[in-house]
Symmetry: C4
Subunit: 124 residues, 4 copies
């Protein structure tokens, strides 16, 4: 199968609100990235979070099994440190094998999905 | 006419909810792909669905007539097996001729449309 | 100034609903394309509309002055024939100079904007 | 670290409504661009605003520190002149170092985010 996807992805419009009207975790406001690994190798991705007024934080490391999808809540990135609430942030993700990434936001029921697909930056 | 489109498309942010508040099929929650075949040849596309915790399923085969549009509900993909409800999924689509694909989601009236356009992966 | 934009654009997810709850034209459901011509030449674009069950219709011709923006309602495309209501459609647009195009949809107040930006197809 | 991003960005679907039902600045309707500068150099960006019926306005100049995110409200662009309310506009942005840009719109609570990501125009 052809190599499908890109090694480098980035988006600039992240924000995790502090207050959420959702009553269950499922409906809380959140930012998520969905990583699709079509390849036959495990994908090891490194995530870097950029802020407006402080140094970037990273490396958050996540693995995605071969031929699998993985959804990652930005809220769940806690090592080396939790992503700050109520701050704007940007994100740069690099992978060792080509992957397909979408960034989605749920603002308590509103899904401005698929933002990130447009921001594939090929390595060459 | 020039060749317009790409052979390979993918998205990672799919999800078909189980419950839907829509009262008619038209308003049910659904994920759709819209395939535009501008060429003068029939397009034969192959769809592969990827999940979080199980092996990918495919090949779903669909044809699009020359110079025609075709909308495909992910719900209607049943051979070799129905796409699972309430699961996150990703999707890889390949075509024998260049096509233009958009992925859209209606969450009972909310249309986070055109997600997929951004995820064209040229073959070379 | 550098050449900014692309000659060829397409999207596959168009649909003009028949019924609209908006009470004024401004709030009616509509699909629009916004064409930005940064160049110093007039842009002459040709629009082709593709349907599911009939031959494509075109050429709709529109000009955009140099260094200007132009918004075009799909509803306003009437020559050679009006775009059909309540039908899915796709769209291919070509220009004689590079332009930047976004496709937006307002479903009676809901703006699934900027769909099309992701679908630039360079000519080479 | 690899160079991540593009030098040239553009979008065509801007509009700043005059009336807004939001009661606080935070909820007012607005258009924003989010610029992510992953590089180790300060990014100097130049913004040009294009209208339907008048000459483009610019250059708006903004800097983004190395390894930082910066959100810019279009409303806050006032030098050489404020961006016009209730007018459609397009935008061209160029940077001296590669950056990642998203355009987002909040229509009093509705976020049609991430429009712009899809419109990266590499310089070569």
């Amino acid at each position: 199968m052809k190599k499908i996807g890109k090694l480098d992805w980035a988006f600039s419009g992240g924000n995790i609100p502090f207050d959420s009207t959702g009553e269950e975790p499922m409906f809380n406001s959140h930012d998520k990235i969905a990583v699709l690994n079509i390849s036959e190798e495990e994908a090891e991705i490194e995530i870097f979070i950029f802020y407006e007024n402080q140094a970037p934080v990273g490396t958050y490391e996540v693995e995605i099994q071969p031929k699998r999808l993985r959804k990652i809540r930005i809220n769940d990135l806690i090592d080396p440190e939790a992503v700050r609430l109520e701050r704007n942030y940007g994100c740069y993700i690099r992978s060792n094998v080509p992957v397909v990434i979408q960034f989605s936001r749920m603002n308590t029921g509103q899904n401005a999905a698929a933002i990130m697909g447009s921001m594939a930056f090929p390595t060459e």
